[in-house]
Structures are given as structure tokens and as C-alpha cells.
Amino acid sequence: MILKDELANDKVLMNMLGKSMHEITDPDFDNKVMERISMAEVRKFAEKKNLRLSWIFLIISIVLLPVSYPFILKAVGTISGGIAGDYLQNFSEFLFPVGIILISVIVLLQIDNLIQLNIRRKTI
């Protein structure tokens, strides 16, 4: 039987390729993988914790900012009103809607970032 015929035979090929198994020579390979797993676990736990904290602070700021914002502006107006009079009072009225828009944009951007982070964590 010539070589070509033999190689056409799957059993011969299987026998040959049975000799092609590579072995990892590093005796410490298993330990290295386990070490990387532990490190990844620690990092994952920290990420999870930070993400949870970010959501909590975001929710707190969503609730507290609109409630406290008028009071802050009023307080600013009262303090500065005595010094600069009507000019600063008008400025506070102008600042009110601008501040609301600014805060809304920041909060929305933050929500978007956190949602993207959550999705990325789940797909990794």
C-alpha cells in the first residue's frame, strides 16, 4: 500500500495526529491561571461595588437636587441681595432655568454612562 493511500485512511491520520498534542511545559501554569482568576474576581467585586455606589449617589442627587435647588438659589439671592441689590436678584431668576437645564443634562449623561457600563459588564 503506498503512502498516499495510507494517508487517505482516517485511522492512519488519526494515529499520526495523535502525536501532535502540545503540552504546556510551564509547571506553574495552573497556579498562574488561578491567580489571575482571583485577581479578576477582586476587580469584578470592586467594579460591582463602585457601580452600585454610583447608582445610589445618582438617585440621591436626582431626588435632592430639584428639592434643594430653589432653596439654594433663594439663599444665594438673600445673601447677595443685600450687597448688590436688584441686579443680583434678577440674575438669580435668570439662573434658575439655566441651572435646571444644566443639572438635567448632567444627570441624563450620568444615567447614560451607567447604563452603558452595566451593558458592557454583562457582555464581557
Binding site: M1, I2, L3, K4, E6, L7, A8, D10, L13, M14, M16, L17, G18, K19, S20, M21, H22, E23, I24, D26, F29, D30, K32, V33, M34, R36, I37, S38, A40, E41, K44, I124
Partner: protein, 185 residues
């Protein structure tokens, strides 16, 4: 057997993962070597694959064998590394003419270590997909469907590539034999 260890890992016993590493590391490494052709990169790819497998173990539903799922991750990690460094061999198929009649069983005349060296040398010279499929199909003895799943190819593609790979393997073996023969003479 695997399921038992997977369950233990999912229940919080991280150390149980060692069993899976020990069981599958060598074949995973062989897969990575087929694609990357570099010991260092292959070792890194296998490490990355095991870490990823551990992190995503919850996503393993047990629909396929654990080995199929793991090897797919190894293939993905190896391919990710090739994107950083293009290693794909284009390798043209050597001619089949002048086959030596005398060498009816080339490998059987060689020493075991020498045989392994030559077989691995041939696989190293072959294009990544071909050597990967040969190893999966003949070394790990996965069926066509599983091989296709691991390699991320269609079953018909696997059959075509396997056919081509067998021919290339044969040609390379013959050319190596001829070179060896010339050196001896």
C-alpha cells in the same frame, strides 16, 4: 464528571476550577498553537481563555459539552491575538508528483519523539484553519458538527477545509521525507 466540578465552582468553590484547567489545558494549548504558531502567545491565549471561561461559567447552559464551549473561547482568544499580529499562513499547496514508493510508512520508521516533532512541524507550516481542524477532528475526535461549532464555520466548510488539509498534510509529509532522505544520502 465536568458538570460536578462546574457546579462546585458555581457554588463558590473556586479551587474546583483547577480540575478543569488540568484536564483541558494541553488540548487548549494545541488549539492555540494551531492558530498562533507561537508558544508564548498560545500560552497567553489559553490563560485568557480559562479566565474568561471562569468569569462566564454561569452562561454555560450545558447544551453542548463543556470542552466544546471552552475550545470555542480558546479559538476566539487566539483569533483576537492574531488580529494584533497577523500570523495567518498563506502557504501554497506543494505538488503531489513523484511520491516516493519506498516510503510506504514514513513515520513508523522514525523514533516516537522524532515523529511528534515532524507532525508538529507540518502542522506549524499549515494554515491556521487547516491545522486547527485536523487537530480537532483527529486528535480530539470531535464530530463535524462540534468541529464546526468550535471553529465558527459551517459544516460544509469544515468538510471542504478538512479535505484540503489532509492533502496538504500529506504533501508536506512527503516533502519533509524527501528532504530528510537527501540529507541522509
Amino acid at each position: 464528571m465536568d458538570e460536578q466540578y462546574i457546579r462546585q465552582v458555581l457554588d463558590g468553590n473556586t479551587e474546583a476550577f483547577r480540575f478543569l484547567i488540568a484536564k483541558y489545558k494541553d488540548f487548549s494549548y494545541s488549539i492555540a498553537m494551531s492558530i498562533l504558531k507561537s508558544e508564548l502567545q498560545a500560552t497567553e491565549a489559553v490563560q485568557d481563555a480559562f479566565v474568561k471561561a471562569y468569569q462566564n461559567l454561569e452562561a454555560f447552559r450545558g447544551k453542548s459539552r463543556f470542552s466544546t464551549w471552552l475550545y470555542r473561547i480558546v479559538v476566539n482568544e487566539s483569533l483576537r491575538k492574531t488580529r494584533h499580529k497577523k500570523l495567518e499562513l498563506s502557504g501554497t499547496l506543494p505538488g503531489h508528483e513523484n511520491l516516493p514508493d519506498a516510503g510506504s510508512d514514513i513515520l513508523s520508521s522514525m523514533h516516537e519523539v522524532e515523529q511528534k516533532e515532524i507532525v508538529n512541524d507540518i502542522l506549524q507550516k499549515m494554515p491556521a484553519t487547516e491545522s486547527l481542524l485536523l487537530r480537532l477532528f483527529y486528535l480530539e475526535e470531535t464530530n463535524i458538527s462540534e468541529t464546526a461549532k468550535i471553529a465558527g464555520l459551517s459544516e460544509s466548510n469544515v468538510k471542504v477545509i478538512l479535505h484540503r488539509a489532509r492533502k496538504r498534510f500529506h504533501s508536506l509529509l512527503v516533502s519533509i521525507y524527501k528532504t530528510e532522505l537527501k540529507t541522509i544520502l
